[in-house]
């Protein structure tokens, strides 16, 4: 669905000007939900802008739904949608319902499909109470749910999301994430999610691309990346008695009542062996193995601390 081939973008022609995106290549299949992470200024948004036809690349090529975005911008925009978290695509002074109606006319969706989709979106995203309010009067959480609805109303094959949960409270984040997961699962919409929020990636994406200084430095499944770059793992143990706990190869990071947080290196001691050691050492009530923190994983990828070459 998305094929990127040696794509580069350089701003300015002066000697020493850096490539915001430098020789990036990847492909994303139909129905994939892919996270795109990287520090500020790494080239995430520039990539998305080239894939949506906003920017023309300096070199390389890309195809989205078989089309070259900067050459077939209008055709691409009929088959894709983009949400920039901090910018609105709605009409500021008009009631929200009017924005949806304008989008229906603009994308020439069938009246029956539009009405059915809108009814569904109003229900699942809870838009009903503020449909008649001008967009400028909506809270950030309400507006972001409206932005997501506006993005999916034209039934895009590909959805580009640039920080869609930025600034949202816990409830609004959950609502947006649940909706996106449903959309990807039920309709097979291909989604590229640009975010700093690793919770978004953990909850939604099966695959993660990491970009830094304009270059892709990792491209793998989230699980494989955790495996490769995970570093120390964490074991949470609830003891029957409040006794000191010492396990060979593990460090006690924290203790609270009967609960202990142990960390260990899976390279030195595989997780099953560490669990067995705990069980041999002390009587326990419960035990859980936490996955490596993705933020820590990404940080390690930036620093190139572990793992193989990007695939």
């Amino acid at each position: 669905m998305i094929v990127v081939d040696h794509l580069s973008k350089r701003f300015g022609r002066r000697a020493g000007a850096n490539d915001a995106v430098d020789d990036v290549s990847f492909s994303i299949g139909a129905g994939e939900f892919v996270g795109y992470a990287g520090p500020n200024g790494a080239g995430k948004s520039t990539t998305v802008k080239m894939l949506t036809g906003i920017l023309v690349p300096t070199s390389g090529t890309a195809r989205v739904a078989g089309l070259v975005p900067w050459k077939q911008r209008r055709e691409v925009s009929r088959r894709t949608s983009v949400v920039f978290g901090q910018r609105t695509q709605l009409w500021w002074d008009l009631p929200l319902a009017d924005s949806f109606d304008l989008l229906h006319r603009l994308y020439r969706t069938s009246p029956v499909d539009h009405a059915r989709d809108l009814d569904h979106l109003v229900e699942v995203l809870g838009l009903g109470p503020f449909l008649r309010q001008p967009v400028r009067s909506l809270s950030l959480g309400q507006r972001m749910r409206a932005e997501i609805a506006a993005a999916v109303l034209p039934r895009p094959e590909v959805l580009f999301l640039d920080e869609p949960t930025i600034g949202l409270d816990v409830e609004a984040k959950a609502s947006v994430r649940d909706f996106l997961a449903e959309r990807n699962r039920e309709d097979g919409t291909t989604i590229l999610l640009t975010t700093h929020d690793t919770d978004d990636i953990v909850r939604l994406c099966r695959r993660l691309l990491i970009i830094d200084h304009g270059r892709i430095i990792a491209d793998d499944s989230v699980d494989a990346m955790r495996e490769r770059f995970g570093g120390r793992r964490r074991l949470v143990v609830d003891l029957v008695d409040d006794v000191p706990l010492e396990v060979e190869g593990a460090t006690t990071e924290a203790a609270e009542g009967h609960r202990r947080w142990l960390s260990f290196s899976p390279e030195d001691t595989p997780a099953p062996e560490m669990v067995a050691r705990v069980l041999r050492t002390v009587e326990i009530r419960d035990l859980s193995l936490e996955p490596p923190d993705l933020e820590d994983v990404i940080r390690r990828v930036y620093r190139g601390e572990a793992g193989d070459e990007p695939t």
Binding site: S45, S81, F84, L106, A115, D119
Partner: protein, 282 residues
Amino acid sequence: MGDTTTRSTLAATLPSSVPVALVLASASVRSFSSSLRMNVLRTLGASVLVWSEALAVIFLLTAFDGIAGWSTAEVLLLLGIADAGLGLGMLLGEPLEPPTFSQLLRDGRFDQVLTRPMSPLLWVIVNDVQIRNVGRVLAGLAIATGGAGAAGVSLTPAAVALVLGAITAMATIVVAILAIGAAITMWTIEGTEVLNAFTYGGATLSGWPLQIYSSALRAVFLWVVPVGAAVYLPTLRLLDREGIGIANQDLLPALPLLVAAFCALAVVAWKAGLRHHTGAGG
């Protein structure tokens, strides 16, 4: 149509067969009505500016008994057409002016425009129609009508068509100038006020007979930025007057070509601007 769609006030008033550009323009007019009192005052203000220009012409030319062989009424006809054309051009093209367009680029709204299945130029124009310029258009029309009447021009259908054609040509050139300016803004981001010399300056200049200008200036406003041709040539035909040099009634059939050539230049500049667009930060 489902229940939620009928909640849209647009759907209730504009059938789905109405072209989307007109619906967007209508939405922008609705925004105008959200602060009606202030916008009505601004519309009147635009009109007062044109009337004060006309009064200045009347006072000045009555004292000198015309200029370069043109009577006060004939100059008012020129002035009215030029101002109505400028007003119509600004009604559509004002969002392309440097401060507004530059802001559109900086806050990323233009990036959003580029993700729509519509011409970005048309989107920018219809999404922010500046209704207050209607004041300038109406004042210009009134002054042109008054000037034509006083100059003895009969308001035949052909004369009305000629006046409306001249206004449309002037408006088209103004929008094209503003589009070139917007293309430059895509390079500089900050924009440049230089092109105001051709929009406001061009309208002021074409509100006077071309005889009073140097041949170099006449050439610029006839052949390069043809605002002079748009107003002067149709007025010569209306008044059945001799022009100056090649700028004569015989050149009138070439006016659509001059306008089309200038628009083609604007389209080339706009497309080059889009290719150079660097997007908002982030």
